[in-house]
């Protein structure tokens, strides 16, 4: 009798379809987690790149937000290794759209160096003492170097600036940068080389 008790039910379609639903749900959740991790890893750099191009915090935020949404809507089911160049391609298109619009209405906003407000930082320097925070003089040097680089970046043609930021800040290789910029690898190398030449001519061997 125990042998009859171990027989499997003859029809198991309902449970199978339920398993399929669970599987698709778990896949969607895994994809969401992966996308969340990817976006969390690049959002600050993406903002910095957009801010360097647009010179306006809110516009840069809008551009990054639009790029995030576009990537999630249209390309979240693509392989994760394709996300980065796709994201920066979308971001670049968004930046270009904003720049065109801004050109139409005139360049109202002047160069605004990005400054952090220490009062809003999560870390309280007093509570964290002793800390690895650089000394005030060192912070001042870094601040000056940042401002100088920021100002020099603003003088670069857009494509050179884009190649420089993607290669230097985001650490993308030539192939990825070419996909993100929508051009050949040779063009990326040319833009990057010219950007380096211009920046070095302006900044010299600036020390940090």
């Amino acid at each position: 009798m125990s042998g009859f008790a171990t027989l499997a039910p003859p029809y198991s379609m309902p449970s199978a379809s339920h398993d399929d639903a669970d599987l698709s749900t778990s896949i969607a959740q895994a994809r969401s987690r992966a996308l969340n991790g990817f976006l969390a890893g690049i959002e600050l750099k993406a903002f910095k790149i957009a801010q360097a191009a647009l010179r306006h915090e809110d516009d840069a935020l809008d551009a990054v937000q639009d790029a995030m949404l576009q990537l999630a809507r249209a390309y979240s089911d693509r392989p994760a290794e394709e996300w980065k160049p796709l994201f920066y391609r979308i971001l670049e298109n968004r930046i270009r759209d904003m720049q065109r619009r801004r050109t139409v209405r005139g360049r109202v906003l002047a160069w605004l160096p990005f400054r952090s407000d220490d009062d809003e930082d999560d870390v309280d320097p007093i509570a964290q003492a002793p800390s690895d925070e650089p000394s005030p003089s060192r912070k001042l040097e870094i601040e000056e170097a940042m401002q100088a680089l920021d100002k020099a970046l603003d003088t670069l043609p857009r494509r050179q600036q884009q190649a420089f930021m993607l290669r230097t800040l985001e650490g993308m290789d030539v192939a990825q940068t070419a996909v993100a910029m929508g051009c050949s690898e040779g063009s990326v190398k040319t833009h990057y080389f010219r950007a380096l030449q211009t920046l070095r001519a302006q900044l010299g061997d600036f020390q940090t």
């Binding site: 996308l35 935020l61 937000q65 949404l69 952090s116 999560d122 940042m146 230097t168 070095r200 061997d205």
Partner: protein, 132 residues
């Protein structure tokens, strides 16, 4: 590596360090808004896909349209177009065809010299007199 290349590499490293430092100094307001934007994007992925439903909608619409057309054609088929006709229309059409196809009537007209009509009229008059 040439001195020029070394200088370029050193410059790149310094620039990378400065840019990395500038990223760490992005304030909490910007971080918070970026976080909100990211959550909105993730919610977009988590939302159930509407694509399959959108693909099914034209097919469902086509089926509904076909059913409606079939119903209209059924309601307006020729038999039911004649008011008060419940099948008699087919009988009338058959009689018409018989009249048209009948050749006896034509032969009678060709061979007739008018005597039939005179006889028929006489029969009608006789009928009228007997009824009165």
């Amino acid at each position: 590596m040439s001195p020029q290349d070394e200088r370029s590499t050193g410059f790149e490293e310094q620039a990378r360090a400065v840019l990395a430092e500038s990223v760490t100094r992005i304030d909490s307001r910007i971080r918070s808004r970026l976080n909100q934007a990211r959550q909105a994007a993730i919610a977009e992925v988590s939302r159930p896909s509407r694509r399959p439903r959108l693909l099914l909608m034209p097919a469902a619409g086509a089926v509904v349209a076909a059913v409606l057309v079939a119903m209209v054609l059924w309601q307006h088929r020729p038999d039911s177009a004649l008011p008060g006709n419940d099948g008699g229309g087919q009988m009338v059409a058959a009689e018409d065809l018989d009249l048209i196809a009948d050749t006896d009537g034509l032969d009678m007209l060709q061979d007739s010299d008018g005597t039939f009509y005179e006889w028929a009229a006489g029969q009608a008059d006789a009928g009228a007199e007997t009824s009165t």
